[in-house]
Protein backbone atom coordinates (compact mmCIF):
# COMPACT_ATOMS: atom_id res chain seq x y z
CA UNK A 1 0.00 0.00 0.00
CA UNK A 2 2.70 2.46 0.97
CA UNK A 3 4.73 1.58 -2.07
CA UNK A 4 1.76 2.19 -4.31
CA UNK A 5 1.29 5.47 -2.59
CA UNK A 6 4.91 6.31 -3.23
CA UNK A 7 4.64 5.46 -6.88
CA UNK A 8 1.33 7.23 -7.45
CA UNK A 9 2.71 10.75 -7.96
CA UNK A 10 5.15 9.48 -10.58
CA UNK A 11 2.32 7.77 -12.42
CA UNK A 12 0.32 11.00 -12.25
CA UNK A 13 3.02 13.17 -13.74
CA UNK A 14 4.12 10.55 -16.24
CA UNK A 15 1.76 11.57 -19.09
CA UNK A 16 3.17 15.08 -19.00
CA UNK A 17 6.79 13.94 -19.11
CA UNK A 18 6.13 11.44 -21.87
CA UNK A 19 4.62 14.18 -24.02
CA UNK A 20 7.30 16.60 -22.88
CA UNK A 21 9.99 14.19 -23.97
CA UNK A 22 8.40 13.40 -27.31
CA UNK A 23 7.28 16.85 -28.32
CA UNK A 24 9.76 19.10 -26.58
CA UNK A 25 13.03 17.39 -25.70
CA UNK A 26 13.33 15.30 -28.86
CA UNK A 27 12.53 18.24 -31.17
CA UNK A 28 15.08 20.43 -29.42
CA UNK A 29 17.64 17.66 -29.89
CA UNK A 30 16.70 17.39 -33.55
CA UNK A 31 16.94 21.18 -33.84
CA UNK A 32 20.49 21.05 -32.48
CA UNK A 33 21.42 18.41 -35.05
CA UNK A 34 19.68 20.18 -37.96
CA UNK A 35 21.30 23.48 -37.07
CA UNK A 36 24.67 21.96 -37.96
CA UNK A 37 23.48 20.86 -41.38
CA UNK A 38 22.32 22.21 -44.66
CA UNK A 39 19.07 20.61 -45.70
CA UNK A 40 16.34 21.44 -48.19
CA UNK A 41 13.89 18.97 -46.66
CA UNK A 42 14.67 16.18 -49.12
CA UNK A 43 17.51 13.68 -49.11
CA UNK A 44 20.05 13.60 -46.31
CA UNK A 45 21.13 16.69 -44.45
CA UNK A 46 24.72 17.72 -45.19
CA UNK A 47 26.85 18.37 -42.15
CA UNK A 48 28.34 21.85 -42.29
CA UNK A 49 29.39 22.52 -38.70
CA UNK A 50 28.70 25.96 -37.37
CA UNK A 51 28.31 27.62 -40.77
CA UNK A 52 24.62 28.34 -40.18
CA UNK A 53 25.46 30.27 -37.06
CA UNK A 54 28.23 32.28 -38.67
CA UNK A 55 25.88 33.00 -41.57
CA UNK A 56 23.21 34.15 -39.12
CA UNK A 57 25.71 36.46 -37.49
CA UNK A 58 26.22 38.14 -40.87
CA UNK A 59 22.60 37.98 -42.11
CA UNK A 60 21.15 41.50 -42.08
CA UNK A 61 17.61 40.06 -42.31
CA UNK A 62 18.23 38.16 -39.12
CA UNK A 63 19.58 41.29 -37.41
CA UNK A 64 16.47 43.11 -38.57
CA UNK A 65 14.26 40.34 -37.20
CA UNK A 66 16.08 40.38 -33.86
CA UNK A 67 15.74 44.16 -33.70
CA UNK A 68 12.04 44.07 -34.52
CA UNK A 69 11.39 41.33 -31.96
CA UNK A 70 13.25 43.44 -29.42
CA UNK A 71 11.01 46.41 -30.25
CA UNK A 72 7.87 44.31 -29.75
CA UNK A 73 9.28 42.95 -26.47
CA UNK A 74 9.89 46.50 -25.29
CA UNK A 75 6.37 47.50 -26.37
CA UNK A 76 4.99 44.62 -24.33
CA UNK A 77 7.03 45.29 -21.24
CA UNK A 78 6.93 49.09 -21.19
CA UNK A 79 3.57 49.79 -22.74
CA UNK A 80 1.25 46.80 -22.45
CA UNK A 81 2.22 45.80 -18.91
CA UNK A 82 1.98 49.35 -17.43
CA UNK A 83 -1.32 49.98 -19.25
CA UNK A 84 -2.69 46.75 -17.82
CA UNK A 85 -1.63 47.80 -14.33
CA UNK A 86 -3.19 51.22 -14.80
CA UNK A 87 -6.50 49.77 -16.00
CA UNK A 88 -6.46 47.25 -13.16
CA UNK A 89 -5.94 50.14 -10.77
CA UNK A 90 -8.97 51.93 -12.22
CA UNK A 91 -11.05 48.77 -12.08
CA UNK A 92 -10.05 48.24 -8.46
CA UNK A 93 -11.69 51.49 -7.41
CA UNK A 94 -14.02 50.89 -4.52
CA UNK A 95 -17.67 50.90 -5.39
CA UNK A 96 -17.08 50.90 -9.14
CA UNK A 97 -20.25 50.14 -11.04
CA UNK A 98 -20.30 47.70 -13.94
CA UNK A 99 -16.85 46.36 -13.07
CA UNK A 100 -17.69 43.04 -14.64
CA UNK A 101 -18.78 44.68 -17.90
CA UNK A 102 -15.48 46.54 -18.17
CA UNK A 103 -13.44 43.51 -17.20
CA UNK A 104 -15.16 41.23 -19.68
CA UNK A 105 -15.02 43.73 -22.55
CA UNK A 106 -11.34 44.47 -22.01
CA UNK A 107 -10.61 40.75 -22.00
CA UNK A 108 -12.61 40.06 -25.15
CA UNK A 109 -9.86 40.71 -27.75
CA UNK A 110 -7.81 37.93 -26.16
CA UNK A 111 -10.61 35.49 -26.92
CA UNK A 112 -10.60 36.22 -30.63
CA UNK A 113 -8.65 34.33 -33.21
CA UNK A 114 -5.57 36.20 -34.50
CA UNK A 115 -6.93 35.92 -38.02
CA UNK A 116 -10.09 37.71 -36.95
CA UNK A 117 -8.01 40.45 -35.35
CA UNK A 118 -5.81 40.70 -38.42
CA UNK A 119 -8.82 40.99 -40.63
CA UNK A 120 -10.34 43.69 -38.48
CA UNK A 121 -7.22 45.79 -38.36
CA UNK A 122 -6.42 45.35 -42.04
CA UNK A 123 -9.84 46.83 -42.66
CA UNK A 124 -9.57 49.60 -40.11
CA UNK A 125 -6.07 50.62 -41.14
CA UNK A 126 -6.47 50.33 -44.89
CA UNK A 127 -4.93 53.37 -46.54
CA UNK A 128 -7.83 54.20 -48.82
CA UNK A 129 -10.91 52.59 -47.32
CA UNK A 130 -9.93 52.21 -43.70
CA UNK A 131 -12.12 53.64 -41.02
CA UNK A 132 -9.17 55.17 -39.16
CA UNK A 133 -8.15 57.30 -42.12
CA UNK A 134 -11.77 58.18 -42.85
CA UNK A 135 -12.21 59.45 -39.32
CA UNK A 136 -8.93 61.39 -39.45
CA UNK A 137 -9.96 62.90 -42.76
CA UNK A 138 -13.32 63.97 -41.40
CA UNK A 139 -11.89 65.41 -38.19
CA UNK A 140 -8.60 66.93 -39.30
CA UNK A 141 -8.75 66.99 -43.05
CA UNK A 142 -5.77 64.65 -43.18
CA UNK A 143 -6.14 60.94 -43.53
CA UNK A 144 -3.58 59.65 -45.94
CA UNK A 145 -1.41 57.79 -43.45
CA UNK A 146 -0.17 54.48 -44.79
CA UNK A 147 -0.62 52.62 -41.52
CA UNK A 148 0.59 49.27 -42.79
CA UNK A 149 2.91 50.39 -45.57
CA UNK A 150 5.12 52.97 -43.90
CA UNK A 151 8.13 51.48 -42.09
CA UNK A 152 7.53 53.33 -38.83
CA UNK A 153 3.75 53.37 -38.92
CA UNK A 154 3.65 49.63 -39.61
CA UNK A 155 5.55 49.03 -36.38
CA UNK A 156 3.27 51.44 -34.56
CA UNK A 157 0.23 49.64 -35.95
CA UNK A 158 1.46 46.21 -34.88
CA UNK A 159 2.36 47.68 -31.50
CA UNK A 160 -1.14 49.03 -31.12
CA UNK A 161 -2.67 45.68 -32.02
CA UNK A 162 -0.50 44.03 -29.37
CA UNK A 163 -1.68 46.62 -26.87
CA UNK A 164 -5.30 46.11 -27.85
CA UNK A 165 -5.06 42.34 -27.76
CA UNK A 166 -3.08 41.72 -24.57
CA UNK A 167 -3.79 44.57 -22.17
CA UNK A 168 -7.13 43.21 -20.99
CA UNK A 169 -5.64 39.76 -20.47
CA UNK A 170 -2.87 41.07 -18.23
CA UNK A 171 -5.32 43.35 -16.42
CA UNK A 172 -7.00 40.25 -15.01
CA UNK A 173 -3.80 39.21 -13.24
CA UNK A 174 -3.12 42.68 -11.87
CA UNK A 175 -6.69 43.19 -10.72
CA UNK A 176 -6.61 39.95 -8.77
CA UNK A 177 -3.34 40.99 -7.17
CA UNK A 178 -4.63 44.43 -6.25
CA UNK A 179 -7.74 42.96 -4.71
CA UNK A 180 -5.59 40.75 -2.54
CA UNK A 181 -3.68 43.66 -1.00
CA UNK A 182 -4.84 44.05 2.61
CA UNK A 183 -6.71 47.32 2.99
CA UNK A 184 -5.08 47.97 6.38
CA UNK A 185 -1.78 48.59 4.63
CA UNK A 186 -3.28 51.55 2.79
CA UNK A 187 -4.90 52.83 5.93
CA UNK A 188 -1.69 52.85 7.91
CA UNK A 189 0.15 54.40 4.97
CA UNK A 190 -2.47 57.11 4.88
CA UNK A 191 -2.14 57.69 8.60
CA UNK A 192 1.58 58.14 8.02
CA UNK A 193 0.66 60.89 5.58
CA UNK A 194 1.38 59.06 2.34
CA UNK A 195 -0.42 60.47 -0.69
CA UNK A 196 -1.73 58.53 -3.63
CA UNK A 197 1.63 58.30 -5.36
CA UNK A 198 3.50 57.33 -2.18
CA UNK A 199 0.88 54.71 -1.43
CA UNK A 200 1.31 53.31 -4.89
CA UNK A 201 5.09 53.03 -4.58
CA UNK A 202 5.29 51.94 -0.95
CA UNK A 203 2.21 49.72 -0.63
CA UNK A 204 0.84 48.69 -4.00
CA UNK A 205 4.01 47.90 -5.93
CA UNK A 206 5.70 45.77 -3.25
CA UNK A 207 2.46 43.88 -2.57
CA UNK A 208 1.88 42.92 -6.18
CA UNK A 209 5.50 42.02 -6.89
CA UNK A 210 4.93 38.27 -7.40
CA UNK A 211 2.17 38.86 -9.94
CA UNK A 212 4.17 41.56 -11.68
CA UNK A 213 7.03 39.11 -11.97
CA UNK A 214 4.76 36.50 -13.48
CA UNK A 215 3.23 38.98 -15.92
CA UNK A 216 6.59 40.39 -16.95
CA UNK A 217 8.13 36.99 -17.63
CA UNK A 218 5.14 35.60 -19.54
CA UNK A 219 4.84 38.83 -21.56
CA UNK A 220 8.50 38.67 -22.39
CA UNK A 221 8.26 35.08 -23.60
CA UNK A 222 5.07 35.77 -25.53
CA UNK A 223 6.46 38.86 -27.24
CA UNK A 224 9.75 37.18 -28.07
CA UNK A 225 7.98 34.57 -30.13
CA UNK A 226 5.52 36.90 -31.79
CA UNK A 227 4.34 35.55 -35.13
CA UNK A 228 0.62 35.77 -35.81
CA UNK A 229 -0.07 39.51 -35.82
CA UNK A 230 2.77 40.72 -38.06
CA UNK A 231 2.50 37.69 -40.35
CA UNK A 232 -1.21 38.19 -40.86
CA UNK A 233 -1.45 41.97 -40.85
CA UNK A 234 1.69 43.17 -42.61
CA UNK A 235 3.28 39.95 -43.79
CA UNK A 236 6.42 41.18 -42.06
CA UNK A 237 6.50 44.20 -44.32
CA UNK A 238 6.94 46.72 -45.64
CA UNK A 239 10.22 45.14 -46.66
CA UNK A 240 11.29 43.49 -43.43
CA UNK A 241 10.18 46.27 -41.12
CA UNK A 242 7.89 44.07 -39.02
CA UNK A 243 9.65 40.75 -39.58
CA UNK A 244 10.09 38.94 -36.27
CA UNK A 245 12.41 36.08 -35.38
CA UNK A 246 9.58 33.55 -35.42
CA UNK A 247 8.66 34.77 -38.90
CA UNK A 248 12.28 34.54 -39.94
CA UNK A 249 12.31 30.89 -38.86
CA UNK A 250 9.04 30.19 -40.66
CA UNK A 251 10.22 31.93 -43.83
CA UNK A 252 13.56 30.14 -43.88
CA UNK A 253 12.00 26.72 -43.42
CA UNK A 254 8.71 26.82 -45.25
CA UNK A 255 9.23 29.40 -47.95
CA UNK A 256 12.93 28.93 -48.72
CA UNK A 257 13.45 25.28 -47.75
CA UNK A 258 16.48 26.13 -45.60
CA UNK A 259 15.61 23.77 -42.77
CA UNK A 260 19.05 23.74 -41.20
CA UNK A 261 19.26 27.51 -41.26
CA UNK A 262 15.78 27.81 -39.79
CA UNK A 263 16.66 25.39 -36.99
CA UNK A 264 19.77 27.42 -36.20
CA UNK A 265 17.76 30.65 -36.01
CA UNK A 266 15.22 28.92 -33.77
CA UNK A 267 18.03 27.78 -31.47
CA UNK A 268 19.44 31.29 -31.21
CA UNK A 269 16.00 32.52 -30.16
CA UNK A 270 15.72 29.63 -27.73
CA UNK A 271 19.03 30.42 -26.06
CA UNK A 272 18.13 34.09 -25.70
CA UNK A 273 14.58 33.58 -24.46
CA UNK A 274 15.29 30.62 -22.23
CA UNK A 275 18.38 32.22 -20.75
CA UNK A 276 16.81 35.57 -20.09
CA UNK A 277 13.59 34.14 -18.69
CA UNK A 278 15.48 31.80 -16.35
CA UNK A 279 17.44 34.81 -15.23
CA UNK A 280 14.25 36.82 -14.72
CA UNK A 281 12.67 33.89 -12.88
CA UNK A 282 15.63 33.72 -10.57
CA UNK A 283 15.72 37.46 -9.99
CA UNK A 284 11.99 37.73 -9.43
CA UNK A 285 11.58 34.32 -7.78
CA UNK A 286 8.44 33.13 -9.51
CA UNK A 287 6.84 29.74 -9.81
CA UNK A 288 8.32 28.38 -6.62
CA UNK A 289 6.27 25.81 -4.81
CA UNK A 290 5.51 26.56 -1.21
Amino acid sequence: MTSRRNLAPYAFIAPFYVLYGLFMVVPIGVACYLSLTEWVGLGTPTFIGFDNFTDLARDTSFHKALGNSLIFILVSLFLVVPCALLIAQLLNTRGLRARDLFRVTFFLPMVLSPIVIALLYSLLLDREYGLVNSVLRALFGFGGADWLGDPTLAKVSIGFVLLWRWTGYLTIFFLAALQAVPRELYESAELDGAGTVRQFTTVTLPSIRPVTAFVVVTSFIGAAQLFDEPYLITGGGPGEETLTVAQFVYRAAFERQQFGYAAAAGLVLFVIVFGLSQLLNRLLRIGRTA
Binding site: A8, A11, I28, I87, R94, M110, V111, L119, V135, T218
Partner: protein
Amino acid sequence: MSATRTTTAPGPAATRPTPPHRPRRRRSLPARIALYGTLGLLLLVFAAPLLWALSGSFKPRGDIFDYPPTLVPDPATTENYRNLLGGQPFWNWFAISVVTALTATTIAVFVCALAGFAFAKYRFAGKKVLFNVMFSSLSVPFAVILVPLFILVVKSGLANPWFALIVPWVAPAFGIFMMQQYIIQSIPDEILEAARLDGNSEFGIFRRVVLPLLRPSLGALGVWQFLQSYNSFLWPLVLISDTDQYTLPLGLNILFRAESRAFDLVLPGAVLASVPTIAVFLLLRKQLLEGLSAGAVKG
Protein backbone atom coordinates in the same frame (compact mmCIF):
# COMPACT_ATOMS: atom_id res chain seq x y z
CA MET B 1 -22.58 54.99 0.11
CA SER B 2 -20.03 53.08 -1.84
CA ALA B 3 -21.19 54.83 -4.99
CA THR B 4 -20.53 58.31 -3.64
CA ARG B 5 -17.16 57.31 -2.25
CA THR B 6 -15.62 56.41 -5.55
CA THR B 7 -12.12 57.76 -5.89
CA THR B 8 -9.37 57.09 -8.36
CA ALA B 9 -7.04 56.01 -5.61
CA PRO B 10 -7.27 52.33 -4.78
CA GLY B 11 -9.83 53.08 -2.13
CA PRO B 12 -7.63 53.65 0.89
CA ALA B 13 -9.98 55.71 3.01
CA ALA B 14 -13.09 53.89 2.06
CA THR B 15 -13.41 51.10 4.58
CA ARG B 16 -13.64 53.08 7.77
CA PRO B 17 -15.00 56.54 8.38
CA THR B 18 -11.83 58.58 8.76
CA PRO B 19 -12.97 62.05 9.79
CA PRO B 20 -9.83 64.14 9.27
CA HIS B 21 -9.29 63.22 5.63
CA ARG B 22 -12.33 64.45 3.86
CA PRO B 23 -11.21 66.45 0.84
CA ARG B 24 -11.65 63.30 -1.18
CA ARG B 25 -15.34 63.47 -0.83
CA ARG B 26 -15.51 66.89 -2.45
CA ARG B 27 -13.24 65.81 -5.25
CA SER B 28 -15.26 62.73 -5.77
CA LEU B 29 -17.59 63.97 -8.51
CA PRO B 30 -14.91 65.15 -10.95
CA ALA B 31 -12.85 62.13 -10.01
CA ARG B 32 -15.77 59.91 -10.75
CA ILE B 33 -16.39 61.59 -14.08
CA ALA B 34 -12.73 61.14 -14.98
CA LEU B 35 -12.84 57.49 -13.91
CA TYR B 36 -15.98 56.55 -15.79
CA GLY B 37 -14.92 58.73 -18.73
CA THR B 38 -11.60 56.90 -19.03
CA LEU B 39 -13.15 53.48 -18.61
CA GLY B 40 -15.92 54.34 -21.05
CA LEU B 41 -13.43 55.50 -23.64
CA LEU B 42 -11.46 52.31 -23.20
CA LEU B 43 -14.65 50.32 -23.52
CA LEU B 44 -15.22 52.02 -26.86
CA VAL B 45 -11.67 51.30 -28.04
CA PHE B 46 -11.99 47.64 -27.11
CA ALA B 47 -15.52 47.02 -28.31
CA ALA B 48 -15.97 49.30 -31.32
CA PRO B 49 -13.94 47.25 -33.83
CA LEU B 50 -15.93 44.17 -32.88
CA LEU B 51 -19.31 45.85 -33.17
CA TRP B 52 -18.26 47.41 -36.43
CA ALA B 53 -17.28 43.99 -37.83
CA LEU B 54 -20.54 42.50 -36.64
CA SER B 55 -22.57 45.22 -38.28
CA GLY B 56 -20.42 45.15 -41.43
CA SER B 57 -21.12 41.46 -41.87
CA PHE B 58 -24.81 42.31 -42.42
CA LYS B 59 -24.17 45.13 -44.85
CA PRO B 60 -24.27 44.89 -48.62
CA ARG B 61 -20.77 44.95 -50.07
CA GLY B 62 -20.96 48.60 -51.13
CA ASP B 63 -21.99 49.82 -47.69
CA ILE B 64 -19.17 48.29 -45.64
CA PHE B 65 -16.77 51.16 -46.24
CA ASP B 66 -19.34 53.93 -45.98
CA TYR B 67 -18.37 57.01 -44.08
CA PRO B 68 -19.63 58.00 -41.59
CA PRO B 69 -19.82 54.39 -40.41
CA THR B 70 -23.24 53.21 -39.39
CA LEU B 71 -23.68 50.76 -36.58
CA VAL B 72 -27.07 49.47 -37.65
CA PRO B 73 -26.91 48.13 -41.20
CA ASP B 74 -29.46 49.71 -43.50
CA PRO B 75 -30.47 47.80 -45.48
CA ALA B 76 -29.48 44.72 -43.48
CA THR B 77 -28.85 41.57 -45.44
CA THR B 78 -27.87 38.00 -44.68
CA GLU B 79 -26.60 37.57 -48.21
CA ASN B 80 -22.95 37.67 -47.08
CA TYR B 81 -23.59 34.74 -44.77
CA ARG B 82 -25.40 32.81 -47.47
CA ASN B 83 -22.57 33.41 -49.94
CA LEU B 84 -19.98 32.30 -47.43
CA LEU B 85 -21.80 29.17 -46.34
CA GLY B 86 -22.93 28.30 -49.84
CA GLY B 87 -19.66 28.90 -51.67
CA GLN B 88 -16.98 27.84 -49.19
CA PRO B 89 -16.32 24.67 -47.18
CA PHE B 90 -16.87 26.76 -44.08
CA TRP B 91 -18.58 24.06 -42.03
CA ASN B 92 -15.75 21.62 -42.78
CA TRP B 93 -13.19 24.04 -41.40
CA PHE B 94 -15.42 24.83 -38.49
CA ALA B 95 -15.93 21.15 -37.63
CA ILE B 96 -12.20 20.36 -37.75
CA SER B 97 -11.41 23.33 -35.52
CA VAL B 98 -14.11 22.61 -32.98
CA VAL B 99 -13.59 18.84 -32.80
CA THR B 100 -9.79 19.02 -32.50
CA ALA B 101 -10.02 21.83 -29.95
CA LEU B 102 -12.59 19.98 -27.85
CA THR B 103 -10.58 16.76 -27.92
CA ALA B 104 -7.34 18.50 -27.00
CA THR B 105 -9.15 20.38 -24.23
CA THR B 106 -10.68 17.28 -22.69
CA ILE B 107 -7.40 15.39 -22.59
CA ALA B 108 -5.39 18.42 -21.45
CA VAL B 109 -7.70 19.16 -18.56
CA PHE B 110 -7.37 15.58 -17.34
CA VAL B 111 -3.58 15.37 -17.78
CA CYS B 112 -3.01 18.76 -16.14
CA ALA B 113 -5.28 18.06 -13.20
CA LEU B 114 -3.55 14.74 -12.60
CA ALA B 115 -0.05 16.22 -12.72
CA GLY B 116 -1.13 19.30 -10.78
CA PHE B 117 -2.54 17.02 -8.08
CA ALA B 118 0.73 15.11 -7.82
CA PHE B 119 2.74 18.33 -7.48
CA ALA B 120 0.32 19.86 -4.99
CA LYS B 121 -0.35 16.96 -2.65
CA TYR B 122 2.50 14.44 -2.70
CA ARG B 123 6.05 14.51 -1.47
CA PHE B 124 8.35 12.51 -3.66
CA ALA B 125 11.99 12.28 -4.55
CA GLY B 126 12.96 14.65 -7.33
CA LYS B 127 9.79 16.70 -7.00
CA LYS B 128 11.55 20.02 -6.99
CA VAL B 129 13.66 19.26 -10.02
CA LEU B 130 10.75 17.79 -11.93
CA PHE B 131 8.62 20.80 -11.11
CA ASN B 132 11.30 23.19 -12.28
CA VAL B 133 11.77 21.22 -15.49
CA MET B 134 8.03 21.38 -16.10
CA PHE B 135 7.85 25.05 -15.25
CA SER B 136 10.80 26.07 -17.34
CA SER B 137 9.26 24.45 -20.40
CA LEU B 138 7.04 27.54 -20.39
CA SER B 139 10.01 29.51 -21.59
CA VAL B 140 10.76 27.37 -24.63
CA PRO B 141 9.73 29.45 -27.64
CA PHE B 142 7.64 27.54 -30.12
CA ALA B 143 9.87 28.70 -32.99
CA VAL B 144 12.67 26.41 -31.82
CA ILE B 145 10.60 23.23 -32.06
CA LEU B 146 8.54 24.31 -35.08
CA VAL B 147 10.86 22.90 -37.74
CA PRO B 148 11.98 19.67 -36.00
CA LEU B 149 8.46 18.91 -34.79
CA PHE B 150 7.14 19.35 -38.30
CA ILE B 151 9.79 17.00 -39.65
CA LEU B 152 9.19 14.38 -36.95
CA VAL B 153 5.45 14.44 -37.46
CA VAL B 154 5.73 14.22 -41.25
CA LYS B 155 8.39 11.49 -41.16
CA SER B 156 6.36 9.37 -38.80
CA GLY B 157 3.31 9.69 -41.02
CA LEU B 158 1.29 11.43 -38.34
CA ALA B 159 0.79 14.71 -40.16
CA ASN B 160 -2.98 14.53 -40.11
CA PRO B 161 -5.07 16.98 -38.11
CA TRP B 162 -6.50 14.32 -35.83
CA PHE B 163 -3.11 13.52 -34.45
CA ALA B 164 -0.93 16.55 -35.00
CA LEU B 165 -3.40 19.24 -34.02
CA ILE B 166 -4.24 17.40 -30.82
CA VAL B 167 -1.58 15.21 -29.30
CA PRO B 168 1.46 17.51 -29.08
CA TRP B 169 -0.62 20.07 -27.16
CA VAL B 170 -2.41 18.09 -24.52
CA ALA B 171 -0.03 18.74 -21.63
CA PRO B 172 0.55 22.48 -21.34
CA ALA B 173 2.84 23.39 -18.45
CA PHE B 174 0.77 26.48 -17.77
CA GLY B 175 -2.24 24.24 -17.13
CA ILE B 176 -0.32 22.06 -14.67
CA PHE B 177 0.90 25.13 -12.83
CA MET B 178 -2.61 26.55 -12.70
CA MET B 179 -4.05 23.25 -11.40
CA GLN B 180 -1.32 22.88 -8.83
CA GLN B 181 -1.98 26.34 -7.42
CA TYR B 182 -5.68 25.65 -7.34
CA ILE B 183 -5.35 22.30 -5.61
CA ILE B 184 -3.05 23.71 -2.93
CA GLN B 185 -5.64 26.35 -2.15
CA SER B 186 -8.86 24.43 -2.41
CA ILE B 187 -8.30 20.80 -1.40
CA PRO B 188 -7.57 20.20 2.27
CA ASP B 189 -5.30 17.27 3.14
CA GLU B 190 -7.87 15.92 5.61
CA ILE B 191 -10.27 15.03 2.80
CA LEU B 192 -7.58 13.00 1.10
CA GLU B 193 -6.67 11.21 4.33
CA ALA B 194 -10.33 10.42 4.96
CA ALA B 195 -10.68 9.03 1.45
CA ARG B 196 -7.58 6.90 2.02
CA LEU B 197 -9.04 5.50 5.24
CA ASP B 198 -12.15 4.60 3.27
CA GLY B 199 -9.94 2.32 1.19
CA ASN B 200 -9.71 4.35 -2.00
CA SER B 201 -6.72 3.87 -4.26
CA GLU B 202 -4.66 6.95 -5.03
CA PHE B 203 -6.18 7.25 -8.48
CA GLY B 204 -9.60 6.56 -6.97
CA ILE B 205 -9.08 9.54 -4.68
CA PHE B 206 -8.20 11.70 -7.67
CA ARG B 207 -11.21 10.56 -9.65
CA ARG B 208 -13.83 10.44 -6.91
CA VAL B 209 -12.69 13.18 -4.54
CA VAL B 210 -10.37 15.63 -6.24
CA LEU B 211 -11.91 15.94 -9.70
CA PRO B 212 -15.41 16.81 -8.45
CA LEU B 213 -13.98 19.45 -6.09
CA LEU B 214 -11.96 20.92 -8.94
CA ARG B 215 -14.91 21.52 -11.21
CA PRO B 216 -14.65 25.35 -11.34
CA SER B 217 -10.94 25.34 -12.07
CA LEU B 218 -11.37 22.59 -14.64
CA GLY B 219 -13.76 24.97 -16.35
CA ALA B 220 -11.15 27.70 -16.26
CA LEU B 221 -8.43 25.51 -17.69
CA GLY B 222 -10.88 24.11 -20.22
CA VAL B 223 -11.73 27.55 -21.59
CA TRP B 224 -8.09 28.56 -21.66
CA GLN B 225 -7.06 25.40 -23.51
CA PHE B 226 -9.99 25.63 -25.91
CA LEU B 227 -8.98 29.18 -26.82
CA GLN B 228 -5.38 28.08 -27.36
CA SER B 229 -6.29 25.19 -29.65
CA TYR B 230 -9.12 26.82 -31.52
CA ASN B 231 -7.17 30.01 -32.21
CA SER B 232 -3.80 28.45 -32.95
CA PHE B 233 -2.47 29.52 -36.30
CA LEU B 234 1.21 28.88 -36.89
CA TRP B 235 1.25 25.13 -36.32
CA PRO B 236 -1.80 24.36 -38.48
CA LEU B 237 -0.32 26.70 -41.11
CA VAL B 238 2.84 24.64 -41.52
CA LEU B 239 1.17 21.30 -40.99
CA ILE B 240 -1.91 21.26 -43.15
CA SER B 241 -1.70 21.70 -46.89
CA ASP B 242 -4.94 20.02 -47.90
CA THR B 243 -7.75 22.62 -48.01
CA ASP B 244 -10.29 19.99 -46.97
CA GLN B 245 -8.46 19.60 -43.68
CA TYR B 246 -8.03 23.29 -43.00
CA THR B 247 -8.86 24.68 -39.62
CA LEU B 248 -11.02 27.76 -39.46
CA PRO B 249 -8.17 30.27 -39.11
CA LEU B 250 -6.45 28.75 -42.15
CA GLY B 251 -9.65 28.85 -44.15
CA LEU B 252 -10.30 32.46 -43.27
CA ASN B 253 -6.70 33.31 -44.05
CA ILE B 254 -7.06 31.82 -47.55
CA LEU B 255 -10.30 33.70 -48.15
CA PHE B 256 -8.71 36.86 -46.85
CA ARG B 257 -5.75 36.55 -49.18
CA ALA B 258 -7.30 35.05 -52.28
CA GLU B 259 -10.47 37.05 -52.72
CA SER B 260 -9.01 40.50 -52.71
CA ARG B 261 -11.21 42.91 -50.86
CA ALA B 262 -13.98 40.33 -50.54
CA PHE B 263 -14.65 41.71 -47.11
CA ASP B 264 -18.31 40.91 -47.55
CA LEU B 265 -17.24 37.26 -47.45
CA VAL B 266 -14.56 37.47 -44.82
CA LEU B 267 -16.47 39.52 -42.26
CA PRO B 268 -19.27 36.99 -41.76
CA GLY B 269 -16.57 34.33 -41.55
CA ALA B 270 -14.84 36.28 -38.81
CA VAL B 271 -18.11 36.72 -36.95
CA LEU B 272 -19.05 33.04 -37.18
CA ALA B 273 -15.52 31.99 -36.22
CA SER B 274 -15.75 34.09 -33.07
CA VAL B 275 -19.08 32.66 -31.95
CA PRO B 276 -17.71 29.54 -30.17
CA THR B 277 -14.94 31.34 -28.31
CA ILE B 278 -17.06 34.27 -27.26
CA ALA B 279 -19.89 31.95 -26.21
CA VAL B 280 -17.56 29.71 -24.19
CA PHE B 281 -15.93 32.75 -22.66
CA LEU B 282 -19.18 34.45 -21.71
CA LEU B 283 -20.63 31.26 -20.25
CA LEU B 284 -17.57 30.43 -18.18
CA ARG B 285 -16.03 33.87 -17.74
CA LYS B 286 -16.17 33.82 -13.99
CA GLN B 287 -14.24 30.58 -13.76
CA LEU B 288 -11.76 31.62 -16.42
CA LEU B 289 -10.96 35.05 -15.03
CA GLU B 290 -10.73 33.77 -11.48
CA GLY B 291 -8.83 30.66 -12.50
CA LEU B 292 -6.22 32.69 -14.36
CA SER B 293 -5.72 35.04 -11.48
CA ALA B 294 -5.64 32.34 -8.81
CA GLY B 295 -2.64 30.79 -10.52
CA ALA B 296 -0.61 33.94 -10.56
CA VAL B 297 -1.49 35.57 -7.28
CA LYS B 298 0.00 32.78 -5.25
CA GLY B 299 2.99 32.30 -7.54
